[in-house]
């Protein structure tokens, strides 16, 4: 109310429409959000670093965990994640091109570039889902000891990892999965792994060429391989058969590794997913001509900032999860 009485110049200042730092209100607020979101991600990655430095001698080696490429068999560390990184950078490029075309008010070009960006984002989210599914399923299987350490198996002749199915015996025994309806407190038992503890131990004793690999990283930066005698002694500590990964235990090593993997890539994937949804909304707005009528395509620029930020975060996740 007061502003209506004061001079015209002050009225302009308080009436809104100012652009401090040469950026509009919406863009400034997007930057506020991105900076705070960057701090959230930094918190996650720093706590990952914390846990890793805490267990620096036993942390899983990422190259040995993420070795799969869809439709191909064999050992391809990192190739698929590199492909995902490239897809995301590529969709960032089409996004900048959309923003650039928006500045020049070329509606058709904006539509096409937005479309390509959405496709890129969808491929990335799909790849991440596949990565999760592969990680959860696991590949070789392992044993867990009383102290919660993971024991993996190696074929002494080839030096390659040995899967439980390669050596475990099939013993006719009664394995009952505890179901919810039989429990006093209505808890379900954990699902049964493909082999029981007895079958793995019997198979291990019968195959002298199978050795145990512990979590400890030796001087050469590889996991420690036990001798046959030490392996036979070590297997007595085992209590559980572990296949794949969940939030409580995983066959790859330190439990925290899987927890952080799910949490950080999940949080990032959620960002990409919501980014795709926002992009779709903007995409239809462009088609409907909303920004043409508004006279500028700044909304495309704002959603673009968010999209590039998602790419920026992935660059860091890629380094700290897969490379370092």
């Amino acid at each position: 109310m007061d502003t209506t009485v004061t001079s015209g110049e002050e009225e302009k200042v308080w009436d809104g429409g100012n652009r401090p730092l040469g950026a509009s209100y919406g863009k400034l607020m997007m930057w506020f959000f991105l900076v705070s979101d960057a701090l959230t991600f930094s918190g996650f990655l720093a706590s990952y670093g914390f846990s890793r430095f805490k267990f620096i001698e036993t942390w899983p080696i990422a190259d040995e965990v993420f070795t799969h490429v869809p439709f191909f068999h064999g050992n391809f560390p990192m190739y698929y994640v590199a492909f995902m990184t490239f897809i995301l950078i590529m969709s960032s490029v089409t996004m900048v091109l959309a923003v650039d075309a928006g500045h020049r008010m070329q509606k058709t070009k904006v539509v096409w570039y937005m479309f390509l960006t959405i496709i890129g984002g969808a491929i990335f989210v799909g790849s991440q889902a596949w990565e999760w599914a592969t990680f959860i399923k696991g590949d070789y299987g392992a044993l867990e000891t009383k102290g919660g350490r993971i024991l993996q198996f190696v074929n002494a002749d080839t030096g390659e990892r040995a899967a439980l199915a390669d050596f475990a015996k099939t013993i006719p025994e009664d394995r009952v999965n505890h179901e919810r309806k039989n429990g006093v407190w209505y808890y379900e038992g954990e699902s049964l792994p493909s082999f029981s503890m007895n079958e793995v131990v019997a198979g291990f004793s019968a195959n002298p060429n199978i050795l145990i690999r512990t979590e400890t990283i030796n001087e050469e930066g590889e996991k420690t391989l036990l001798t046959r005698e030490a392996s036979l002694k070590k297997i007595k500590d085992a209590t559980l058969v572990v296949e794949g990964a969940n939030l409580v235990r995983n066959e790859y090593g330190s439990r925290l590794f899987a927890d952080f993997f799910f949490f950080i890539t999940g949080f990032h994937g959620f960002h990409v997913f919501s980014g795709v949804l926002i992009n779709i909304v903007i995409f239809f707005n462009v088609i409907l001509g909303t920004y043409e009528r508004r006279g500028h395509y700044e909304m495309v620029e704002k959603v673009g900032l968010y999209w590039h930020f998602v790419d920026l975060v992935w660059v860091f996740v890629f380094t700290f999860f897969y490379l370092v």
């Binding site: 950078i89 930066g221 860091f316």
Partner: protein, 127 residues
Amino acid sequence: MAHEHKLEIFRGLWKFKSNTQKIWGVLAFLTAVTAVEVALGILKPAILVNTDILGMKLLNWIFIILTLVKAYYIAWDFMHLRDEKSALRRAIVWTPIFLVLYLIFILLFEADYIYNIYKDGYVAWEF
């Protein structure tokens, strides 16, 4: 603001005729850096793995530096911070850098301390 773009990267070493060309140039650079990272990650050259600088492998330092280089070009050219006023740019960039460096310093030192406690303590962890 929106229509003026600074069309050179690498401190003027690489100049572009239009904004579109600059975008493709930056893409080429980012792809090259990623390719180098992946190649180093697969080959793991012995010299880089066995040299330790400040408690970390030289290879890991290279990865981190290359990551920061990529982050710089994504923020400067894709998020066009290069074209914003320097006050806005500094507020956006230095606030997280300051806070994150502080956080990393505290957490990694604490983690190393806990690692030593586990290692030298009288409680067994490997069983």
